[in-house]
Amino acid sequence: MSSWPNKWEELPIGGVVDKPGNSLEVKTGSWRALKPVIDLDKCIKCLLCWVYCPDNAIIRRDDDYVEVDYEYCKGCGICAHECPTKAIDMVEEGGE
């Protein structure tokens, strides 16, 4: 359910935000111009991209390989620049 109220009367008293972490409703992936594409054959599971991603848009799987969460990735390119094996390419959104 969205945190945006339909009417002002639905706002919590005092304007408190009573849903911790609800910025997950804000899909910042729409900011992106370039998108990271990971080649898992080259990934050595160093997890640098996961540690650095400012938007938690690198998902660390159970086996420690990584995936991109395109709902939130803003396309900054830090992951691609920092990857020691150049496993990540930044490609134009809508291209390919």
Partner: protein, 315 residues
Amino acid sequence: MSRIRRLNEIPRKELFTSGHSLCAGCGIPPMVKMALKAIEGDKVVVNATCCLEVATTLYPHTSWLVPWVHNAFENAAATASGIESAMKVLLRKRDGKKYKIIVFGGDGGTFDIGLQSLSGALERGHNFLYVCYDNEAYMNTGIQRSGGTPLGAATTTSPAGRVIPGKPENKKNLMDIVIAHRVSYAATINPAYPTDMWNKFAKASDLLDKNEGPIFFHYYSPCPVGWRMDTALSIEAARLAVQTRLWPVYEVDHGKIIINIKVNKPKPIEEYLKIQGRFRHLLKPENRGVVERLKKYIDNNWNRLLKLAELDSIY
């Protein structure tokens, strides 16, 4: 909290969520994510007004999964002092709960306007961790220079042109001011050295358990927007800042200075300057004098640290 050697030892669960409005490539989140994981147990975050605050709490949303307190620009350390004092009273009078207090403030909120509240809190000795994330200007209000802005950096209030070559003054040495309060533990942290950063937070967590605060961290926080830099280069800039000796990574543990990242063969400062638009004018021949001043500052600062690190304690 246990120390790590590899990044896969960091727990998966995030306490700082996606969907915030910090710029693409912002250097603040890697530090915040790590702090919330490495500082063990219940905690409260106290946030001075700054990019981190305004971009993670856009009503009606929040990116925090821990209790979080809004502050004015100048009083985060005072709020933390009050919270800690209240917690102590509750613990004494009835079954209170012990939790850790983490403050995040920008360089404007720490070097400048919040300095007196920080100094008071450090002197009174409240048990908290204060992290100044230093993006080297007042960023969320439009890139105004601060006491943390380095020599020669162009900001909207120190524009590079015919009158001045960027900021005419050197950066204030905040760590020196903090150390003057004889805090138990103070350290610089840098995202290009994530295991070092984790282990410092882990140590801070242990010290907070032992009521050994206040603890102070100075974080190098890359800002692609304010530094006019490619968003992909945030961590690269952080690494070059250390590798040129501009930004030493060190800790002061009960008065003992330890340089954590040794830089035996420093890179030329020009490598750091050239990737950032805020410094581009410094590469012109007429501004060579500014670069020379910067080099002198770097050498003096590094040599002084080496000397201090020889002492058993500077306290």
